[in-house]
């Protein structure tokens, strides 16, 4: 199984966004068993600094968690970590 890759697009480096990064990272770590032995990569990008990359990735709002591998999917409305975990589980099993 290919390594899962996630990219979190944010509106900038605010306290609120820093907290969101931590929560998303912890959510992914808690779901690590879903991603197989290769695990996952996770990084974050500010659209203020990476607007062209965001457009290339089809991002239309913040915050968006983009999964680029093994399949491309966007998760929006990720402030609810509980719901994000559910969405990741559903995506992983489909």
């Amino acid at each position: 199984m290919a390594k899962h890759q996630f990219r979190l697009y944010l509106s900038g480096n605010t306290d609120e966004n820093e907290a969101l990064v931590k929560n998303v990272q912890q959510s992914l770590e808690s779901l690590e068993s879903l991603f197989g032995k290769d695990g996952f990569d996770f990084n974050q990008l500010s659209i203020l600094e990476h607007g062209e990359q965001a457009q290339f990735d089809g991002i239309f709002c913040t915050p968006t968690l983009l999964q680029t591998k093994p399949k491309k999917e966007k998760f929006i409305g990720i402030a609810s970590i509980k719901n994000l975990k559910e969405a990741l589980k559903t995506s992983s099993s489909s």
Binding site: S11, T14, I47, G51, Q55, C61, E73, I76, G77, N83
Partner: protein, 130 residues
């Protein structure tokens, strides 16, 4: 119970998109404003749950309007409507450096994307888009 959203944009066409997007939705009421000042009056008078704010407007622009909103409403969710071009982003960097929170939504707007964003914010749900 229905919730109120507000779009502040000097372009009539953009305001119409918001109105059309939710005209058959009993759970979302759309208020529109053609200027920052008009938008602030709506926020004062109505129980607004979510704001979409154009970055570039004549008179009071998006950044000035955002700063005015934050004075009395630090937790109100505000999406700045803008193309993701570098020259637009630099205008917003000063806000983040000043600790002013906002989210971004890409312009031009597509109806389905708009509905997904509004629903996810108002219902604290996650939308998955392939």
């Amino acid at each position: 119970m229905s919730k109120n959203i507000l779009t502040i944009d000097d372009e009539q066409g953009i305001r119409d998109v918001f109105t059309m997007a939710f005209e058959d939705d009993d759970e979302v009421n759309v208020f529109t404003a053609a200027s920052g000042q008009e938008g602030l009056e709506h926020i004062k008078d109505q129980d607004i749950s979510l704001v979409f704010l154009d970055l570039r407007m004549p008179g009071m622009n998006g950044v000035d309007t955002l700063k005015a909103i934050r004075k009395d409403h630090p937790d109100l969710k505000v999406y700045i409507l803008t193309a993701f071009y570098y020259e637009f982003m630099t205008e917003l960097e000063a806000c983040t450096k000043a600790g002013i929170d906002f989210e971004l939504m890409h312009k031009p707007i597509q109806l389905q994307q708009l509905r997904a964003v509004v629903k996810s914010v108002l219902e604290s749900g996650v939308a998955t888009i392939s």
